[in-house]
């Protein structure tokens, strides 16, 4: 009987010990690693959507990356650890040591550790270090389309967020939906089958297929870079699009930044000048006013204007760019010689109301709706604030602030049969189970097809009979217009500081591409005809070969 009592007492003491230990582990000191791991609720991060060019070639992918963390309680030799990590990751020993706090269980040391670095560290068999899997962006073509793509940074909670360009605009589509996993694990981290096992899979981000062609992008960026160096310009942009749909085929601005190392650049580099900065377009604006006047039947291509000399508007005197006047000239000749006084005459014929209405119709003063983050609307002041001189200067592209994307869109409208299109970069959004095709969108009809045909012929003539003879590809009809806009500085124009541009298209009959080249403050020559135009023709030569375009004359 006594033995049974001892046995019962033994059992009682044993269970009392178990209960006391559980009480200690669960209530008094619940944050031991074991209980942290007992019921694991882990976020499953979705894979961010990838970006492909028009031919499904990758532009932005994801690559393996790791978060290096420390478990200070397991560290044996702190000095050796700091020294070895410092050698592999190229961060100072002092900065590693300052992060090590021996009272903590877990310390994040460095995110974005590459696979090779991880392998090297693993070979060293250091105690107290481990890795967490992460992903980071990989750009196979480096910063080929930096402004267009944007970059992925962090928000205030340390989550990935897309900034600028496509990463910013399509962030919600690209980031996907996180899932979670809740699982009961035993002391060695293995799942307990009869315990809680819940899993909600993450939904990966959607992939984007762009209208951008990687080869065209390489061509325009290379030519722009060469142009910037040759003409010593501060900044330059080239936009190439399909004029009938306004789908962007190439889009480059320099100087740009490295998407991978974006944090090494200041904020000014992130802004995309082609959509976020406004400028006075200068003479490339003239065909738009000419097209409006033709559409309104205020002038005909074979009408004549007597170019006698400078024109006085109030207190201002308007001259041609070289102060030379040819007497009787046709409307086509006005564009060919880029006559400012001729354009003032056309503006007079068109009338102030029509000028203003057409500026609105062409979409100036409003965003184009391009699918890139950070677009500016430009500025079109209310009609009541316009002075008579404003209606005259706007006919040759001064006194109005537009973005390059607005300019190319309006120009595309006058050569594509009159349709003002919404520019776009993405042509397909691909989810795991469906594809959404983004169709080109016609915003409005600006001019008729007949007027469009007339203006196209005038623009071909402008290239062929203009003041400047360029090295054009033989056998092809190319239309276009140069522009040189002085930059307003503190209320007046500085003639030495200009924005030189050229906008052209080929082949003229059925244009395959339209390209705008813009250089800010070229030093070798201020003129668009001597700087931007040669870049355009260099690009056109390569695009003609790439697209296998047949000679048309």
């Amino acid at each position: 009987m006594i033995r049974i009592k001892f046995l019962l007492l033994g059992f009682f003491l044993f269970f009392a010990f178990v209960i006391a230990k559980l009480f200690y582990l669960q209530l008094i000191k619940p944050s031991t690693p074991f209980f942290d791991n007992y019921l694991k609720t882990r976020k499953i991060y979705p894979e961010r959507g990838r970006l492909f060019d028009h031919n499904s070639r990758p532009l932005v992918l994801n690559q393996n990356s790791y978060l290096l963390y420390l478990e200070p309680k397991k560290i044996r030799n702190q000095k050796e650890l700091s020294q070895k990590i410092s050698e592999v990751l190229e961060i100072s020993e002092a900065s590693i040591e300052s992060k090590i706090d021996m009272s903590k269980y877990w310390i994040s040391l460095k995110s974005g550790v590459e696979e090779e670095q991880k392998k090297t560290l693993e070979k060293l068999q250091l105690d107290g270090i481990d890795f967490d899997y992460q992903m980071k962006r990989y750009y196979p073509e480096a910063s080929l389309a930096a402004h267009l793509v944007g970059f992925v940074g962090k928000d205030s909670e340390g989550e990935d967020v897309g900034y600028f360009g496509l990463e910013g605009f399509y962030d919600k589509d690209l980031r996907g939906l996180p899932g979670f996993i809740e699982t009961e694990r035993d002391i060695v981290g293995k799942p307990i089958l009869i315990g809680t096992q819940k899993r909600l899979n993450a939904e990966n981000g959607r992939d984007l297929q762009l209208s951008l062609d990687k080869t065209v992008q390489e061509i325009i960026k290379r030519k722009l870079k060469q142009g910037l160096e040759s003409y010593k310009a501060k900044q330059g942009c080239v936009i190439t699009a399909n004029p009938s749909t306004m789908q962007i085929i190439g889009f480059a601005c320099l100087p740009d930044y490295d998407n991978n190392q974006y944090f090494q650049f200041s904020e000014q580099y992130f802004k995309n000048p082609a959509i976020s900065e406004v400028y006075e377009p200068g003479s490339i604006f003239k065909p738009l006013i000419m097209a409006a006047a033709l559409e309104e039947k205020k002038v005909k291509p074979d009408d004549f204007y007597d170019e006698k000399g400078a024109v006085q508007i109030g207190e201002y005197r308007i001259r041609t760019w070289n102060d030379k006047y040819e007497g009787k000239i046709s409307m086509t000749r006005i564009l060919e010689k880029s006559s400012n006084v001729g354009m003032v005459y056309i503006g007079d014929k068109l009338g102030n109301n029509n000028i203003y209405n057409y500026l609105k119709k062409y979409g100036f003063g409003e965003t184009t709706g391009i699918d890139l983050q950070g677009e500016a609307a430009g500025y079109l002041k209310p009609k009541s604030n316009w002075y008579p001189i404003d209606f005259s200067t706007v006919t040759f592209g001064q006194g109005i602030a537009v973005t390059p994307i607005q300019m190319i869109r309006a120009f595309a409208a006058i050569i594509n049969g009159g349709k003002l299109m919404r520019p776009s970069v993405v042509e397909k959004i691909i989810a795991s189970d469906e594809e959404k095709i983004i169709k080109p969108k016609v915003e409005r009809k600006v001019i008729s097809e007949k007027t469009s045909e007339i203006i196209k012929k005038m623009l071909v003539s402008t290239v062929e009979n203009g003041e400047y003879k360029w090295a054009r590809p033989k056998g092809y009809t190319i239309g276009g217009k140069t522009g040189t806009a002085q930059i307003p500085i503190q209320g007046h124009y500085d003639p030495s500081k200009t924005i030189a541009s050229f906008i052209g298209f080929a082949p003229a009959e059925n244009p395959k591409f339209i390209t705008l080249v813009m250089l800010r403050e070229p030093e070798t020559s201020p003129w668009g005809s001597e700087t931007a135009a040669p870049i355009f023709f260099e690009i056109a030569k390569e695009l003609i070969v790439y697209y296998n375009i047949v000679p048309d004359k």
């Binding site: 196979p140 073509e141 293995k190 307990i192 390489e218 056998g475 070969v545 047949v550």
Partner: protein
């Protein structure tokens, strides 16, 4: 009857103990398998991404340009069709 029940209990007891042990061991083995497959899936996923990255790097214009530069293929020639239209027009 009482003896039969007692005999039954003595037979059932080891059967239940063995069944429990079997379920317990199977559970551990299944847990091990789940753990192993989880690790393997993660490893394959990482390998897949690494291979994808490598393939796209080798297929990139950037890599082609670097190889061309290494091999000294730096001269770009203008296609003859642009200078001599008879080829382009097939005459």
């Amino acid at each position: 009857m009482k003896k039969f029940i007692q005999y039954g209990i003595w037979v059932m007891l080891p059967v239940l103990i063995l069944t429990n042990m079997f379920i317990f061991v199977s559970g551990i083995m299944l847990s091990n398998q789940i753990s192993r497959f989880e690790k393997e899936i993660k490893k394959i996923h990482e390998q897949n991404i690494a291979l994808n990255t490598q393939t796209s790097r080798l297929d990139s214009l950037e890599y082609a340009a670097s190889v061309a530069a290494t091999l000294d293929f730096v001269k770009r020639s203008t296609p003859v069709v642009l200078e001599n239209l008879k080829y382009a027009l097939n005459r």
